[in-house]
Amino acid sequence: MDMKRSYYEDLRLFDTLPLGLWLVAATVALAAAPFLLGNYVLYVLGYIAINVIVAIGLNVLVGYTGQISLGHAGFFAIGAYATVLLANVGLPILLALPLAALIAAAFGFLLGLPALRLEGPYLAVVTLGFGLAVENIFAKASVFGGATGPAVPGFGVTFLPGFSREQNLYVLIVATAGLSLLAVRNLIRTRVGRAFIAIRDSDVAASCAGVDLTWYKTLAFAVSAFFTGLAGGLFAFHLGQVDPTSFNLMLSILFLAMVVIGGVGSILGPVLGAVAISLLNLKLKGLKMADFEQIPLAGPDIAAFLGRHFMETGMANIQFIVYGTILVLIMLFEPLGLYGLWIRGKRYWRTWPF
């Protein structure tokens, strides 16, 4: 998409100076947020940041290595459970989180092994089975707390004296998301990242060029699972509760949708995708007849049409139609996802008005 003129350009952490400045601005804004914003906004930002971590992790696998996974809710669950169980036996949370992520990574490595021989739909089914199995094991085994999950301990980390639980959590979640972004961006610029991309473009060619397929494919799964597990651990504290049924197939599909809607194989894409899907998820829930009346011009007609053909008790389901329509429109008009919009917008402004 962006032309690179030398190897050094490709190696730079930030492509352009303005990009760097924007990142600084975003960092300042996010750092100021806990002092200025209320509990609800911090919760939403935290929810988005957790999804961002999952999306960039999943993107390492889907976007850069060209493998597919319908089982990432499983890694998310492993991260959540492992963090809570480790914290419950007395480990400090800041230690339990990375340890749990490593456990998730180990499972990612195991799941990566069948990926060596499977591709496309076959791999999708294997990962799907993994996700379903994990959900059921956690829900059924009494060591994991059964149907209501294990009790989540208090969040005893304090970053600034006087900060509330929510403010402290926000700092940890957003900082982790920032570091994860930086880590993945760095990873992709290294030998390992190039190996991933080579496998995605053609695994036979990559193998001929000396890329060890066994090692790098399983590594991609492990790295991806690491970030997803990390996000899962944060999620357990963010919600203050672990409910095994919430780690279901739908969640895996939403994760995948974040990456695809955002734009596979880029750093910014999954971030945009995670933000978009998270907001749609949280904001569409309150859709009412009155909201349709406010659509300019055709509003009253649309509302009247819906009133005739929908039962009031079924109205709430309209959110899924709107949700689906938005996703279809994005993919129809911008197959590269939200990242594609960004690229196009940038090109347009670069040449405008000359």
Partner: protein, 393 residues
């Protein structure tokens, strides 16, 4: 370059502007003319049939507002769809609490895990919450100052059913089919305890997993145990599959089941007419009960109910779980604060609405304990109340 720096400055300014209105005073959700009350409930997704609880509450508030409100204030009701997803429950609850004018408290709310996800948040802020629509011990262990529980315990229902089967109907071989979740385990435990007290043991204890759709092996275990009565502590889908499978296997014990399956007309429809001669526990009056209150509600339903709504147990539960909250608001008087409301709630004794008798008091947070048993007839359409309202001792 300068232009870009300008952009950044504009962005930063925008973010600060967004942030500005937050540092306001505490929001109580009470104004001179309004009381704001919230509730979550699944309107979409697999749990959507329980969403009528929240709509029942809506009807109750509408009735109260049309009759002039409470001490000159109308109730403004904020119901939202959380799809039984705790992450969404938390988001919705925080949004309501923190967006002006805030909410005074929460009424009912379906589900153990959505409720658990917001319990600490609400209790830390002393925000009243009355009548969670889930039978869980979590609400009252330990008792919370601002949380008033009304759902009678599942274990009590199971005990009463066992007592009826053994003492009144002469059943000796009782088997238990239960969901392998908190709900199923509570019923299972209660039944086993009561059987021990009566010197019996269940002839079979068969768990059902959430994902199971073929229950033939489960029903065969029940049949082979020689059970003459089966306690069925499962969700509606599994209950229907169980009855269909049993009919195919010509296994016809006395079925007994919990209040969550007490919507007999619904069960009769979805089971294709198999919901016959079923013994069940109930925590609310029967839908066609002949009390003055129930007549009043049925008339209101005819007047207010939206297209597609049905007068069923869940809709009624949305009224029953919230009646005591309305009573508390009335008793708290014109000078309404969260403290005065909680104090007023503690004065509620022997209050009778749709549920059994409600008693709260200082330190007493499980308000309703009374239940009764009922039975559908051979046609599955007529329901008879078997026992009077009573607390299980």
């Amino acid at each position: 370059m300068l232009k870009k720096l300008g952009n950044i400055a504009a962005l930063a300014a925008g973010l600060f502007a967004l942030a500005a209105p937050v540092a306001a005073a505490e929001l109580t959700g009470v104004t001179d003319t309004e009381i704001h009350i919230g509730q979550w409930g699944p309107q979409t997704g697999p749990a959507a049939p329980w969403g009528s609880v929240a709509r029942g509450t809506g009807m109750l508030f509408q009735m109260i507002n049309d009759a002039g409100g409470i001490h000159g204030r109308k109730i403004v009701y904020h119901m939202f769809d959380d799809q039984y997803n705790p992450a969404k429950t938390v988001a919705g609850v925080k949004e309501l609490v923190e967006k002006a004018p805030g909410v005074f408290g929460f009424a009912s709310g379906v589900g153990t895990s959505p409720g658990l996800a917001v319990k600490d948040y609400l209790m830390e802020r002393g925000i009243p919450w009355v009548g969670p629509a889930a039978g869980s011990l979590h609400w009252i262990t330990p008792p919370q100052k601002a949380l008033f529980s009304l759902y009678p315990l599942y274990a009590d229902e199971a005990k009463l059913l066992v007592r009826q089967l053994v003492e009144k109907e002469g059943k000796k071989k009782i088997a238990i089919l239960h969901a392998s979740d908190e709900y199923g385990e509570n019923g299972h435990r209660g039944a086993v305890q009561e059987m021990q007290r009566l010197g019996l043991k269940p002839v079979a204890e068969v768990p059902v997993n959430q994902a199971d759709r073929d229950l033939k092996s489960h029903v065969l275990l029940l049949k082979e145990s020689g059970a003459d009565a089966v306690l069925m502590w499962v969700n509606p889908t599994h209950a229907v599959i169980t009855l269909k499978t049993a009919a195919a296997l010509q296994f016809a014990p006395q079925w007994a089941t919990s209040s969550t399956l007490s919507d007999a007309p619904l069960m009769q429809t979805i089971s294709g007419g198999l919901w016959k001669n079923i013994l069940f526990a109930s925590f609310s009056e029967l839908p066609d009960a002949d009390t003055p209150q129930m007549k009043q509600y049925r008339e209101a339903f005819a007047k207010y109910a939206q297209k597609g709504e049905r007068w069923g147990v869940f809709f009624m539960a949305g009224i029953g779980f919230v009646e005591p909250m309305v009573e508390g608001l009335r008793r708290a008087g014109r000078n309404l604060t969260r403290e005065s409301f909680i104090a007023a709630m503690e004065t509620i004794r022997n209050y009778k609405g749709i549920l059994g008798t409600v008693n709260f008091g200082p330190g007493q947070r499980q308000g309703a304990k009374e239940i009764f048993l009922a039975r559908t007839d051979d046609s599955g359409t007529k329901i008879t109340q078997l026992t009077p309202w009573a607390e299980v001792k």
